[in-house]
Assembly symmetry: C2
Homo-oligomer: 211 residues x 2
DNA sequence: TGCAAGTTAGTAAGCACTTACTTACATGGA
DNA sequence: TCCATGTAAGTAAGTGCTTACTAACTTGCA
């Protein structure tokens, strides 16, 4: 007979197990997409039987929906402007754009899974990307284009459609993060610190639109 | 009995059918990814039995590989600098950047499937994205950063790492195309012509880096 | 009439999901 | 301190359906 102490039985509380399965699923969905990930594989990686997955989540779609909630709580709803409130008061243009860029790049680097999940979601027409887009991306667009518009009235920025400027700026950051996550993770083409990237992107943009 | 003339039998030549199946597969892979697309569905949409798919392509992976070849021939290997040779000779900075941007945006718009296919491929770690990246993207990086480097020596551009500048510029275009393809196909946030987008992107970048 | 285009009717393996069962453990009364 | 017991964590072994893929056959056309 096998001594019980040899075989470590890890029996978790329901809530803990739920979150563990959720996080395994996030990792796998990020890596292989929704339809590329089987519930069996999720169970295996979580170290439980497949039935446990369905005890915690009614079905695979519900598991996906719960991931959205989980991620939205942990990431989407942080205020992206909280850290640049001082710069905003002072109309410190570089501080604002640098701060936003650095913040975004750091977040993306910390949570590459989230980027992949978002992309999978967008490609598969799931809800996550729509939710994220409506509640987060468009907020950034509104805020930044509002600020740019104000600075145009101040006579500091050139009169270019503000949303085009935002698109250019967001594009620099997103594409940089995506390059580092998807196409060139070893950064063979370009290897720079987040600080330098943020600084140069902010400089290029602000030089590009200042009068 | 059904009159045969009523029922149009479309019996294609082998090569025609092959390409038809291939193009259906491209559309479906682009829409739903590799593992999200069944061979049955491909056959249905092509209007043949599933067995026909396997008569033309040894297996699903081979079908995917052949799509890569097909797409690489049709798209990847076009010379992206052919259309701006005149501007290059004259060192017409705006002409060059505007031309490249407009060319890219137009291509992306024409072939949204290709963007989606590339993204799916990158997310699923298939070969297409690596091939495309190595043979096409890095060529653009080399070329553009070479040109920027030259203009820096001419004393016209600021001394910023050229590849960061390229990343910023490519980011504007890719992100704009991706926004219009993935997140905001109805262009609620921003609706501009390719010409205007290309013009503003080129302006922002060139203002941003000129001395 | 030969041969390529096309189909029908499979196969085994894999899929999401379920049922019916077992095991670990906190709790409270003796 | 002990041990009975209810409950929640956990499993084995399926279900019916779908998947990629095949073999053996039929049909239309040069």
């Amino acid at each position: 007979m096998v001594n019980k102490t040899e075989h470590i039985v890890t029996r978790m509380s329901g809530e803990k197990r739920r979150i563990q399965i959720l996080e395994v699923a996030i990792r796998l969905f990020a890596k292989q997409g929704f339809s590329g990930t089987t519930t069996k594989k999720i169970a295996q990686e979580a170290g439980v039987s497949e039935a446990m997955v369905f005890k915690h989540f009614a079905n695979k779609d519900k598991l996906y929906a719960d991931i959205i909630d989980y991620k939205a709580c942990n990431h989407g709803l942080e205020d992206p402007f909280a850290e640049i409130s001082e710069e905003l008061k002072n109309k410190d243009d570089f501080g604002i754009f640098y701060g936003m860029a650095l913040n975004a790049l750091r977040h993306h680097e910390e949570d590459k899974d989230f980027i992949r999940l978002l992309l999978h979601s967008a490609l598969e027409n799931h809800e996550l990307s729509k939710t994220f887009f409506d509640s987060y991306v468009s907020e950034i667009y509104d805020f930044l284009s509002g600020y740019i518009n104000q600075r145009q009235k101040d006579g500091v920025f050139l009169d270019v459609e503000p949303k085009i400027i935002v698109r250019a700026f967001v594009g620099m950051m997103i594409h940089h993060s995506m390059s580092n996550t998807l196409w060139d993770p070893e950064q063979k083409i370009l290897k720079v610190s987040d600080e330098q990237a943020a600084r140069e992107f902010a400089n290029i943009l602000l030089n590009g639109i200042k009068k």
